[in-house]
């Protein structure tokens, strides 16, 4: 009872604290100085139409590297926790329709994913989005094809190599003393081209690969882990 009351007090308190922000909220009419510089710089310095991509990959590239690391850590943690639990998955059947459709869809999904991360600097999307799409393709495979076994070794290899190359690309900038993660190590090219904006498409592709393999890894690990259910059954 007291607990309930305290929860309500807490939530109401939070509300009261946050309310002034809503009350005083005024939608800005201009970009902040920093945002303006990003918008201009994206066109002029980086030749990348997608400003968000410029910010994500270049200006705040360190964040993105960190972000990739966080995902990497989560994968690692998931693997670490669910290790050595390769119980047989419970029997279930998959209809023929789904199996056929999915095998057809998967290739399309993969292509879409690759498209998204290679065109990250031109259109909406990017490495993460592409990676997620690829992972969803694998998810579909795992769900539909019971015999589908994805090799953790390959996933890990892709994951490691793409991460390593990503850091190395950044390192080249540092070695050339033009700055860590500076995409200008490659020619900037023509504005709007696929092969433009320096190393941005390359980095985004690597991110795409890495995110894709990591998420797939997580899904695969979680999917293969059925031990909890079996324990429950035994207890029942």
């Amino acid at each position: 009872m007291i607990n309930k009351l305290l929860i309500i007090i807490g939530i109401i308190g939070m509300l009261l604290i946050l309310l002034p922000i809503l009350v005083n909220f005024q939608s800005p009419t201009n970009l902040s100085a920093l945002a303006e510089e990003y918008v201009r710089g994206s066109v002029n310095d980086l030749k990348s139409p997608n400003v968000v991509t410029s910010v994500v990959v270049t200006y705040r590239g360190l964040d993105t590297l960190g972000e990739v690391t966080v995902l990497f850590l989560a994968t690692l943690g998931v693997g670490f926790l669910l290790e050595n639990k390769k119980n047989k998955s419970t029997q279930r059947t998959v209809s023929e329709n789904i199996r056929t459709t999915s095998s057809f869809l998967v290739s399309l999904i993969m292509v879409l994913g690759i498209y998204i991360f290679t065109h990250g600097h031109l259109s909406p999307g990017g490495g993460f989005q592409g990676g997620v799409v690829i992972a969803s393709g694998f998810l579909l495979l795992i769900l539909s094809d019971l015999d589908f076994k994805i090799s953790h070794a390959i996933l890990r290899f892709v994951e490691s190599i793409s991460g390593l190359v990503y850091v190395l690309i950044g390192l080249i900038g540092l070695v050339l003393t033009i700055g860590f993660l500076n995409p200008a190590i490659l020619p900037l090219g023509k504005y709007g081209d696929l092969f433009s904006a320096g190393a941005i498409p390359l980095i985004y592709s690597l991110i795409g690969l890495k995110v894709g393999s990591e998420l797939t890894n997580i899904i695969a690990t979680m999917g293969s882990d059925r031990s909890s259910e079996s324990v429950v059954k035994e207890e029942r």
């Binding site: 939070m14 909220f25 994500v56 989560a74 324990v231």
Partner: protein, 117 residues
């Protein structure tokens, strides 16, 4: 946009309330996810400028006058990172939940107080 901002706050508070009041670990994680989503919506709505376009300077945008035409790209960039981190956290939480369940066959958070005081 004030409407989405309000929505974000409501989601945040709903999420927090769920985290505080639900006993089921999965529901608590869901609560966290809801709150996290609320935060993401708040971030995006803070960067929104009325009547402007996404910050992708393709042919539809007047490049010379781009700063007057697009919304703030920074929150968009931040939210991207935030989403991924949120995803990672949620995944890890779920794995913890699974592992806990494996040991005690319970999803009630009240069952996991071996350590106290």
């Amino acid at each position: 946009m004030i409407e989405t901002l309000i929505l974000g706050f409501i989601l945040l508070l709903i999420g927090l309330y769920a985290m505080l009041s639900q006993k089921n670990i999965i529901k608590i994680i869901l609560g966290f996810s809801i709150a996290d989503t609320g935060v993401h919506i708040i971030i995006v709505s803070l960067g929104y400028l009325k009547g402007r376009r996404a910050p992708i300077l393709d042919s539809a945008v007047d490049i010379a006058n781009s700063v007057k035409e697009v919304v703030d790209p920074i929150p968009s960039a931040l939210v991207l990172t935030a989403i991924v981190i949120g995803l990672a956290t949620t995944a890890l939480m779920l794995v913890f939940a699974a592992e806990l369940h494996k040991r005690k066959a319970s999803f009630s958070i009240d069952d996991y107080k071996e350590l106290k005081w």
